[in-house]
Structure formats: structure tokens, C-alpha cells
């Protein structure tokens, strides 16, 4: 069953086109990798699918809802409740502890502080960093910070997780560990994942790959995993 759908999505930054009519479907529970060279529009597509950006033309549908017609206030609520987002770096609030960072989306949803902390620590535990619950981001390694970011993105148990180069700032070993833990958790939760990457090792964790080139879906259908033959399940 399709959970997310983009139809002819067009997006430009001033005179520079980023997406030139992208059409893709994302099935519920699948891990979809969006790949392509730098500047091909992968991040822009992810931002449009997540309702962070509004496309200039085309449709973005989540379930039965046309996200491209929703005002920012409604899209923000959707991101807070149904979606999780994960970026490359710099997403944790420096002054909050790991547990407080993870608990933040729950607090925003009105959960009590004690309950939110319990849930946050449980998620940190699932990602193997429970001992860092009272540590601030500045005192953690890049990998530990990213695990906390994953916990924050998943603490509301979102239906869709959007990840933009989530391991881009990590070394290959930490990257593999993080992706292993991330995919284990999302598969157990049946969370749909849209994963943007230019790294074949990362794309190999996905069920399916869509390659972009110059703002369009690559018509050859040859993504990184198809070319290299790599796949990790």
C-alpha cells in the first residue's frame, strides 16, 4: 500500500531548478533510498515529501492528504506527530541533555515530563546510548550524537522517517553500526523510511532505490546498488 506519493513535483530556488517533475511512490513499511550525485535534488525531494518545503508545482500526497495544499502550521503538526526527520549533523540542541533532546517532541505533544523522560531513556537504551541520558551533545562523539538524533526522530513512533544523509558526518564503521541499529528498529516498528544518500554502503540498507539526476528520476533506473551490486538487508 502506498503511503507517500509525489506526482510531477517541481521546485526551484530562484532561477535554479532543483526538481523538474519528479514522480515516485513510497510503500508503507519500505526503506526507500533516494540516491544521486551532489546537487541532483535529493534533499529537496525529501524536504517536499516531508512537508518541510512546498513544491512550486505537482502534488505530494500522504495517505489521503494533499500536503502541498496544507499551510505550514498543519504540516508542522504532521511532522511532529506522524513523521520523524533526521539530518546529517547539528540537529541536537546543545544546551539540552540527550534525554531532554529526545523527550522534546513528546513534551511538545503534551506528554508529562517524567513520562517523556522515561520514553526518551528507553529509546536511548534501544540505540545503545542509555548511559549518555544526562550528557550534553558537546560531550558526545559524532556517532553518539547521531544515535540520540535517531532516538529523537523515532520517539513519537512516527509512521515515516525522513533521513537526509544521516551518516554523512560519520566514519564508515560508526556509519555501519548506526545503520544496522536504525534498520533493525524501523523494521521492527514497520516504520517507512525515505533515506537520502550518495553513499552506496548506505543505499545498500534500503529495500528499493530511486536514482535522481539533474532534478529528475534517472530513466535508466540504474542506481548505486544496481551498478555496484551491493545490498544489505
Amino acid at each position: 500500500m502506498t503511503i507517500l506519493r509525489a506526482r510531477g513535483v517541481v521546485k526551484s530556488y530562484g532561477p535554479t531548478p532543483a526538481l523538474r517533475g519528479v514522480t515516485i511512490d513510497v510503500a508503507e513499511g519500505e526503506i526507500l533510498a533516494v540516491t544521486g550525485p551532489s546537487g541532483c535534488g535529493k534533499s529537496t525531494l525529501l524536504h517536499c515529501l516531508a512537508g518541510i518545503l512546498r513544491p512550486d508545482a505537482g502534488e505530494v500526497t500522504y495517505g489521503e492528504h494533499r500536503l502541498d495544499t496544507w499551510p505550514e502550521r498543519m504540516r508542522a503538526r504532521l511532522r511532529r506527530t506522524e513523521f520523524g526527520v533526521l539530518f546529517q549533523f547539528g540537529q541536537l540542541v546543545a544546551e539540552l541533555t540527550a534525554a531532554e533532546n529526545v523527550a522534546l517532541p513528546l513534551l511538545l505533544a503534551g506528554t508529562g515530563r517524567r513520562e517523556a523522560r522515561t520514553a526518551a531513556v528507553a529509546w536511548l537504551d534501544r540505540l545503545g546510548v542509555a548511559e549518555l541520558a544526562d550528557t550534553r551533545p558537546g560531550e558526545m562523539s559524532g556517532g553518539q550524537q547521531q544515535r540520540c538524533a535517531v532516538a529523537r526522530a523515532l520517539v513519537t513512533e512516527p509512521r515515516v522517517l525522513f533521513a537526509d544523509e544521516p551518516t554523512g558526518a560519520l566514519d564508515s564503521r560508526t556509519s555501519e553500526q548506526l545503520l544496522g541499529e536504525l534498520t533493525r528498529v524501523v523494521r521492527r516498528q514497520r516504520t517507512t523510511v525515505v533515506l537520502v544518500t550518495h553513499d552506496v554502503q548506505v543505499a545498500a540498507y534500503a529495500d528499493r532505490e530511486v536514482a535522481l539526476r539533474d532534478g529528475e528520476v534517472d530513466p535508466t533506473g540504474l542506481g548505486l546498488t544496481a551498478i555496484t551490486g551491493k545490498h544489505t538487508r
Binding site: 518545503l53 511532529r80 539530518f87 541536537l92 537526509d164 550518495h198
Partner: protein, 476 residues
């Protein structure tokens, strides 16, 4: 490194660097004009017994009042210097990247620091030059004697040439040295700039002791004067000045430094009492860097202390005038209705409002810089669905939670400082009345300070939308 290279590198920056240079130069211009104005007042020669009969305003004409007038002008430099300090933080990340670029190109750590210091020094030098130009250009324009030959301003006298030279050299040097001191914790490396860890211990309430000492020192001036008077001796000038000025400065420093402890304590309290995300964000910011409040609000709190003292003195002079009227009515003669002191307080009030406006300009820079430097984390939160209103509320709480108790403390300290001067009872022309605190004016000063903070946060929040744009998160 050749001087020309140093200057080229110091002034080669982005538009934000350009704005920082212009604001630093503007601060130096204001400071130059304020100091030259003070020196000009002090340069007025003493002709006659107590008045010169050369100027319209008694603050310039009376020998005994010129020192206070000059001191007030010099005190205006406090918010000006605070503005300069905040300007130095503007665009710091971009400047850090530029300095790291110099290191990558082969500059030594000392050379990179020298470039940053030179930027401030050159900007201050330009500001001082502009200030000197403005001072000398304004003199003939403002020289407007009335029919009786009385001037509104001392445009007929000049400070000594050596005094002007000292201002021209010392101000840029002080600015450059201040920049060097501010960079003492900064290590410029080829891959970026690292700030050495600040102390992690929470602040302690020791500034309270400084406030008490300052108040005691200031209050002891009158008993000391009486002690010497009873023995028909002149008190040593240095002793009285140290006790009075030193006491006032110590109490002011105590309030400013105490803001660090207040921020920390209020942050902890907010963290315990409120469960809302905005409060949590604000509370953690306050406890993680409690000294930010002390840095940001220093000039404003100094203005509030002076304002509270001025308000109490105004109340005192009002009662004096009323007693004059009462005595005249009882004695059946015409009251003098001498409004000189109250008129002087009007000028003091104007000076304080000007100082608050300058301090508020520094606050705008601080709030804006705080938002811009956290833009990536803020953008990530907004992308995750955190409403911008939550971030805006957290920024507002960050400013309001420490400033409200700090302003109350500053008002109390200002009141207590002048307490020994006003006393509990005011006597004039054989009449007396209990001293009544000028609550209305005190409240007005408190509201002015809090209003200035609210306004500056409002202006700073205009940057929030741009700083949380998704472009901040782009990775390719």
C-alpha cells in the same frame, strides 16, 4: 607580516564583517564625542566666585557643578562600550572561518589573532577620526550666543591639545586590547576556531557581598565628612572619592555580576517549575551559560541603577521645593520656586534615556547573534515540527526571566546608594517632611528597562524565520 598586508586582511571580509566594522567605528565615534565633550566642560576656566556668567545652563556655568556634568558625560561611555562589545560578537562564525582560512594558508596563531585585533583597532581608529571630525565640525555650528552673549554650549573653549591626542591614541588602543582579551580563550586552527572550555562550576552569590560592601562604602562618605567637619579639617580628596565612586562602582559591578547567579538560579527554578518545551529550552540555556545575561544586560542594569538614584534625588528635590513653598506661605513671603535642581534632573533623565537606547542597540545585536549562531539547531527543530512560536517563546523567556529580578535588584541598589543623601526626613527653610520614595519614577525606569528588553527581543525575533529556513540544513 607587513602593515599593509595586515590592514588588507583585517578589513577583507563579508558584508557582516563590514557591518561589524561600521558598528565598532560608530561606537568609537560616540565614545570620542562623549569624552571630548567631558574634557571641554572641564576646560571651562573658573572666572568669578562661583559662576562664569558665560553659559545659559548652570550645569556649565557653576564651578561646583562642572565635575558632575563631565562625569555624567563620561558615564555615557558605559553603554557605548557595551554596544561595541556586542558588535564584536556580530558575525563571529564567519570571521572564525576567515581566520581559519588564514591559518590554512600558513599564518601563525599569533598572526591570525593579530588580524582580528587589527580589525577592531582600525575600526576604532576610523571611528575616532570621524568623532574628532564631527566634534570640530559641530563647534562653529553650535556656537550660538544669545543677545546677552550667553552660550548654550561651551563652544568657546577647547581641551588641551595633549588631551585630544591622548583620546585619539588611547581609544583605538583600548579597543584593540579589549579585542585581544576577548580572544584569549580562542584557538585559531587551520580547520576552524576552538574556544577553550569555560568554567563549568555554577556561579555563586558572592556578588551580593560586593553590593553590600559598595553600599556601605558609599554610605560611609557622609559620616566621614561629618567627622572631619567636626574637627574643622578638610577630608582627603582621595579617601572621599574612593569611598564614594569606588562604592558606587562596586555596587554596580555586584549587580552586573550577580546577574550570572540570578540567571543560573532562575534557570534552575524554571526547569523545576515549568514542564513546557519553551521553558525547558530557556532554562537550559540560562543554566548552561549564566554569564550571558551579565554580559548582555550590563549596560542596561548600570543605566537602571543610575536611573533609580536619579529618581530618588528627583523626589528629594521635589520635597525640598514643596518645603520652600510651605515655609514661604507660613512666613508670608514669595517662595523662591528654584527649579534648578529639578531642571538638572530632567537633563540627567535625558542622558539616561539616551544611554538606555544605546544599551538597547547592543541588546539587539546580542539577541540577533544568539539566534543566528544557533540557526542550524533551530532549523532542525522547525523541520521536525517544532513551531517557531515555541522557539520565540524560549528566546523571550531567556531574556525576561533573568532581567526581571535583575532590574528589581538594580532599582533597590540605586535607591539604597542615594539613601544616605536623601535621609528619612527632608528639611528646608525650617520646615521638614518625611522622605517619600519616588515610586512612580522608579516604576517608569523599571518599565523602560524591561520594555527595552522586550522591544529588542521583538526585533531580534525578526531573524528567527530566516534563521530557521530549510536551507540551513542542506547537505547537497
Amino acid at each position: 607580516m607587513k602593515l599593509t598586508t595586515l590592514l588588507r586582511l583585517a578589513l577583507a571580509g563579508s558584508r557582516t564583517d563590514g557591518i561589524r566594522v561600521v558598528l565598532t567605528a560608530f561606537s568609537a565615534l560616540l565614545a570620542t564625542v562623549a569624552i571630548l565633550a567631558a574634557l571641554t566642560v572641564l576646560a571651562i576656566p573658573e572666572i568669578g566666585d562661583s559662576v562664569n556668567n558665560r553659559y545659559v545652563n548652570p550645569l556649565l556655568d557653576e564651578h561646583g557643578l562642572r565635575g558632575g556634568t563631565a562625569l555624567t558625560l563620561v558615564l555615557l561611555c558605559i553603554p557605548i562600550l557595551a554596544l561595541a562589545g556586542q558588535c564584536a560578537r556580530l558575525g563571529a562564525p564567519a570571521r572564525d572561518r576567515r581566520l581559519a582560512g588564514f591559518r590554512l594558508a600558513g599564518a601563525t596563531p599569533g598572526q591570525a589573532t593579530l588580524v582580528a585585533v587589527a580589525e577592531t583597532g582600525v575600526a576604532a581608529l576610523l571611528g575616532v577620526a570621524a568623532g574628532l571630525g564631527a566634534y570640530f565640525a559641530a563647534r562653529p555650528l553650535l556656537d550660538r550666543p544669545d543677545a546677552a552673549g550667553l552660550r548654550p554650549l561651551p563652544t568657546d573653549v577647547l581641551p588641551e591639545p595633549w588631551q585630544i591626542a591622548v583620546v585619539a591614541v588611547a581609544l583605538p588602543l583600548v579597543a584593540a586590547l579589549t579585542a585581544a582579551v576577548m580572544l584569549r580563550r580562542v584557538v585559531v586552527g587551520p580547520l576552524g576556531v576552538v574556544r577553550r572550555a569555560r568554567r563549568t562550576r555554577p556561579p555563586l552569590p558572592w556578588p551580593g557581598a560586593l553590593i553590600v560592601l559598595g553600599l556601605i562604602s558609599f554610605a560611609a562618605v557622609i559620616p566621614v565628612l561629618r567627622w572631619y567637619d567636626a574637627r574643622a579639617q578638610q577630608p582627603p580628596f582621595a579617601l572621599v572619592t574612593t569611598m564614594g565612586v569606588g562604592g558606587a562602582l562596586a555596587a554596580t559591578a555586584g549587580v552586573i555580576l550577580g546577574t550570572g547567579w540570578i540567571s543560573y538560579a532562575m534557570g534552575g527554578l524554571l526547569n523545576r517549575l515549568s514542564h513546557r518545551p519553551a521553558a525547558l529550552l530557556a532554562a537550559r540555556r540560562l543554566t548552561s551559560d549564566p554569564w550571558q545575561g551579565a554580559r548582555t544586560f550590563a549596560a542596561l542594569l548600570a543605566c537602571v541603577i543610575v536611573g533609580a538614584g536619579a529618581a530618588e534625588m528627583r523626589g528629594y528635590f521635589r520635597i525640598m521645593r514643596d518645603l520652600d513653598v510651605l515655609a514661604a506661605r507660613r512666613g508670608g513671603y514669595e517662595p523662591q520656586r528654584d527649579s534648578f535642581y529639578l531642571n538638572s534632573m530632567d537633563l540627567v533623565d535625558i542622558a539616561i534615556v539616551v544611554a538606555v537606547v544605546i544599551a538597547a542597540a547592543g541588546l539587539v545585536v546580542a539577541v540577533g547573534e544568539g539566534i543566528v549562531s544557533r540557526r542550524r539547531a533551530y532549523a532542525a527543530l522547525v523541520a521536525s515540527g517544532v513551531p517557531r512560536a515555541v522557539l520565540a517563546r524560549s528566546i523571550l523567556l531567556q531574556a525576561l526571566v533573568p532581567i526581571l529580578p535583575s532590574v528589581v535588584l538594580a532599582l533597590l541598589v540605586g535607591m539604597r546608594l542615594v539613601g544616605p543623601l536623601t535621609g528619612d526626613e527632608v528639611a528646608n527653610y525650617g520646615e521638614s517632611a518625611p522622605f517619600v520614595h519616588a515610586w512612580d519614577t522608579l516604576a517608569a525606569y523599571g518599565a523602560l528597562a524591561v520594555g527595552a528588553v522586550l522591544a529588542t527581543v521583538g526585533v531580534g525575533l525578526l531573524l528567527l524565520r530566516g534563521s530557521t529556513a530549510v536551507e540551513e540544513l542542506r547537505t547537497g
